[in-house]
Amino acid sequence: MKFQIEDVTVYFPYDNIYPEQYSYMVELKRALDAKGHCLLEMPTGTGKTIALLSLITSYSLSKPQRQVKLIYCTRTVHEMEKTLAELKLLHNYQIKHLGPAAGILAIGLSSRKNLCVNPTVLAAENRDSVDAACRKLTASWVRALAAENPNVPTCEFFENYERAASAAVLPPGVYTLQDLRAYGREKGWCPYFLARHMVQFANVVVYSYQYLLDPKVAGIISKEMQKESVVVFDEAHNIDNVCIEALSVSVRSKTLDGASRNLSRINQEIERFKATDAGRLRAEYNRLVEGLAQRGNLAATDTWLANPALPDDILKEAVPGNIRRAEHFLHVLRRLVQYLRGRLDTENVEKESPISFVASLNTHAGIDQKTLKFCYDRLHSLMLTLEITDTDEFLHIQTICDFATLVGTYSRGFSIIIEPFDERMPHIPDPVLQLSCHDASLAIKPVFDRFQSVVITSGTLSPIDLYPRLLNFHPVVSRSFTMSLTRDCICPMVLTRGSDQLPVSTKFDMRSDPGVARNYGKLLVEMVSVVPDGIVCFFVSYSYMDGIINSWNETGVLKEIMQHKLVFIETQDVVETTLALDNYRRACDCGRGAVFFSVARGKVAEGIDFDRHYGRLVIMFGIPFQYTLSKILIARLEYLRDTFQIKEGDFLTFDALRQAAQCVGRVIRSKADYGMMIFADKRYSRHDKRSKLPGWILSHLRDANLNLSTDMALHIAREFLRKMAQPYDKTGTGGRKTLLSQEDLEKMAENGVQEMLF
């Protein structure tokens, strides 16, 4: 269908549109017009992605003088593929209606692991080894060597790509990762380098958050993007954590051991080069005198990781004299590693600011701040000079240099925390030195500064006013949309009491109460007998889950559950969890029914959908607060209070509730779906907690369902499931119009947009 939003003609690939999609587009368009950032919350299953894509592509079609480039960031490769598939549909539709003039180039970009087509490289198991294997075949010096000696293996795909040179371009179209691989195979060109090259010319680029937020990667990939781009962060409810993680480093004694090994290896290499090719080292020295800014001249294959600190700060200055020579730099690194080892060898927990850390480093090891700042680039340059290709072996020393550069660059928003053992296991010494970033706005600031419009969107962004404060920006539009439904297909409930009327909670003082565990067990036992197919349970932490499952096992609750459904448990092992999920799905498919025990903030809670019969009910046992005694969290809370005036309690509740919302939101992925959500904790009934849930859940949370006991919840569940099993009209009956056709929209445009349904 085709319709007007103010002065933009929107091409939408479906015949009908949801009203909330329409309002979403209107808001988005205004943000684009205002050239500002925006924050939009819309429930999952309402077609956020297609609304976004079709508006932005239509916007640039309608205004050819303002070419908008779309940079779409997703969290996982799977989401990336889904987005590109939607875009393909949209693109075909636009081509059909507008002819080839509407042609765009859209590509997905991912790591070598997902894009490589060379079978020998792909044989490596993880991402780092694939990268290293690729570099072994494509580094400039390897290729130079191969030119002389045909026995040196190279990658034929890359060679072909290089030979084609400027002729190696993608024709317009939408390319998923799979399409890219297929195209690469067909032409014999390396898809990874082709995609990286085409990123500059593409109208739409879909890639992972890290490519924009992690300065190490952003420097290489996203350098060339023009200002007129629209950046979209999808599923961005955790964006502050991603930002923080991008700038945090932790060093363990294992890292230090590895770093020492790496250093001696580098030393050998230097000796070898001195004996054979001293000219190279001298050339490097000269280059460093002129400054690192020339890095751009290096071949594309030789860059691998850029500076972890923000660009521009460093590139303009020359490398300090004391680390220009390879041996001297090596000495500095040795002293640094030695110093860190000394710091790790402590009995007490220590907390320090970067300034005092640098000062003490200066007095004890004689390394000043400026030297630290350049560590990362210097290492990079050295490894290039030494022609080291197996970079996956050198991850440890890279971590150390990463740490050094961050400490040297930032004085605010960070703290260094040394813990001699894990709080939960005080007997096992496991010293760790963490440089933790507290300020999410640091990593995302360059993105806000550089790009004209940044769109942050997700199914759960409530409370929506907190995000601008956390990320320190001023959105021109921030809106939360609700879902228009033909029937009440979600049924949230707050369960405060067990069947014996005793309150249930995972509060610290009630946690170990056997009565609570018994009541939780009773709830699940009752629920498995009335809910068909799949049930998902979320616990607040792994340790709590282990404890409660143990006690259920002892009291026979688990056995009772098994009479109705099979039980699967998420563990910290990824392979095990994948297997469990696989079997869980099979059990749901074949009608046996299954329960999945999972942990809020775990892998499953973030990335796996439990839609349709895979999740008819989700039970959130307790409120998933962060571990409040964690030193890092305390430091971050202090920083937030001092800098952004966010109260500790507010932040903790906000964070816990968004996790809870994220967990329960897993069950509903489309309007035709239905599911129940049980918040099993008495604290959810309190207004300050409840009000932080997203609007689309709150609007279905009836007052009557706020203070339930197990038997009442059971009754509601029975009724709800019976009601939902009845056939229903998809278009909606009576006055509740939930699907708009083209005529409806035209009528609405005549009557003025004020009369919209929201």
Binding site: V530, D533, R722
Partner: protein, 437 residues
């Protein structure tokens, strides 16, 4: 003890009521407190916080219209499977003892199976039924395919106990084994009454479903508690209907929906000729040994025209020569399924307002067509004479007309002299006729 009995008898009384007005709304609130102790569940809070009785009427009406619509879309002279071989699978697993249906799911199921079996033979005199139960994860054949309602009901009444898990696969395997031997003109159907929410299967149920599809067995499921994916999948694959009962009344309706013959899917049904015999009644007072019970009986029987064996009931298959024995009224009764009556058109409230001022009252019962609050409610119009009716009247006419097949088979509009008077709706005219029959 006595309370249980009372409940039982109350349940039956309720059922009698249902026969009268079809929807079970005939019970007053005070009566309901006796049939069901949980009277508070019949209340719900509305937007303004007031307590109101749950208004299931709208849901029921919507469902009724939907059903009608689905029927009318297929109404265009389709082939119907009149000779049906139906297995009813009754799930007597642990879940059947749950008390959410009063007095228990099992009792309710058995009661309605009984009603269904009678209704079924009434509508499909040429068809046969067999009963299978699932208990302790194993499927048992209770009765073999046969045409006598009494024997089925008796067998089921004797097996009223439940335990263990349910196994859909075992039941399907068993039924498939029986139905595979049915000649090609017969329609193979399974109706599963499923109260369990999980199924413990020995193997891959998907494979079994595929086989059922291959043997052209139409599987339908009526659930008693919630929608299960595997049941839905089974019905989708084999072309059956999946439904879930909201309450006892709804359950009964859903059961009875399976009584009229389903449309024959072209590839499933191969039309061919069947040899049938029309037996004569045994002379009054003569004594002969009947072939079905193997005992001597006086009078009251039929004699197979081919082998002269005596059978007690019709329709059946002759035990001796295997001839299908029917009587001509049986054939006639099956006949009306082939010519369904045309349903009333639905008039949506909006359309109602747009076109012309609609009449304020139902043409049939003279009740107001407006909901409380002056909102127009759903109503229907006769496609021929354009009179408006309320849904309740529509339901009654629809039922009456099906019973009064002889009348509807005639095209009243062209033939009846009474129709000159345009005061009456065409459907209304046949209504008294139906009552007379």
């Amino acid at each position: 003890m006595s309370t249980a009995e009372k409940r039982q008898s109350n349940g039956e009384a309720e059922e009698d009521d249902d026969d009268d007005d079809g929807d079970g709304h005939g019970l007053d609130a005070w009566e309901r407190t006796y049939t069901d102790e949980r009277s508070w569940e019949a209340l719900q809070e509305d937007e303004s916080g007031l307590l109101r009785p749950i208004d299931n009427k709208i849901i029921h009406h919507a469902q009724y219209r939907r059903r009608l619509r689905s029927l009318s879309t297929t109404a265009a002279r389709i082939q119907k499977g009149l000779i049906r071989f139906l297995y009813i699978v009754v799930d007597l697993s642990r879940a059947a003892s749950e008390m959410d249906f009063r007095p228990s799911r099992m009792v309710v199921i058995v009661k309605h199976v009984e009603a269904f079996v009678r209704e079924f033979f009434d509508r499909n005199p040429l068809s046969q039924i067999g009963l299978v139960t699932i208990k302790d994860g194993v499927a048992h054949s209770l009765t073999e395919l046969g045409g006598s309602p009494e024997s089925h009901i008796k067998a089921l009444m004797g097996k009223m106990e439940c335990s263990g898990d349910s196994s859909l696969q075992n039941a399907l395997n068993l039924v498939q084994g029986y139905l595979d031997q049915i000649p090609s003109y017969g329609h193979r159907e399974v109706l599963i009454l499923c109260s369990a929410l999980s199924t413990c299967d020995p193997g891959d149920i998907m494979e079994t479903i595929k086989q059922c599809k291959k043997s052209k067995i139409r599987c339908s499921v009526i659930g008693l508690s919630a929608e299960m994916f595997i049941c839905k999948h089974l019905c989708q694959e084999t072309g059956g209907i999946y439904s879930v009962a909201m309450d006892e009344v709804h359950f009964k309706e859903l059961m009875l929906e399976h009584a009229p013959p389903p449309p024959a899917i072209a590839e499933f049904a191969i039309a061919n000729l069947i040899k049938m015999g029309f037996p004569q009644r045994v002379a009054e007072g003569s004594i002969s040994i009947c072939s079905c019970h193997k005992e001597a009986k006086v009078g009251d029987g039929y004699i197979c025209p081919r082998c002269k064996a005596r059978v007690c009931e019709l329709p059946t298959e002759c035990r001796v020569c295997g001839l299908t024995l029917v009587s001509s009224p049986h054939l006639a009764r099956s006949y009306h399924h082939l010519f369904p009556i045309v349903p009333f058109d639905e008039v949506s409230p909006r359309q109602n307002v747009l076109h012309h001022r609609p009449p304020k009252t139902c043409f049939g019962c003279q009740q107001s067509l407006l909901n409380p609050g002056n909102k127009p409610s759903l109503c229907v119009a006769c496609p021929k004479c354009k009179q408006y009716f309320c849904i309740d009247c529509d339901i009654i006419y629809m039922r009456a007309c099906i019973t009064a097949q002889a009348v509807t088979a005639l095209d009243i509009h062209s033939q009846s002299p009474l129709m000159k008077n345009e005061e009456y709706c065409c459907r209304l005219l046949c209504f008294p006729a139906a009552i007379r029959l």
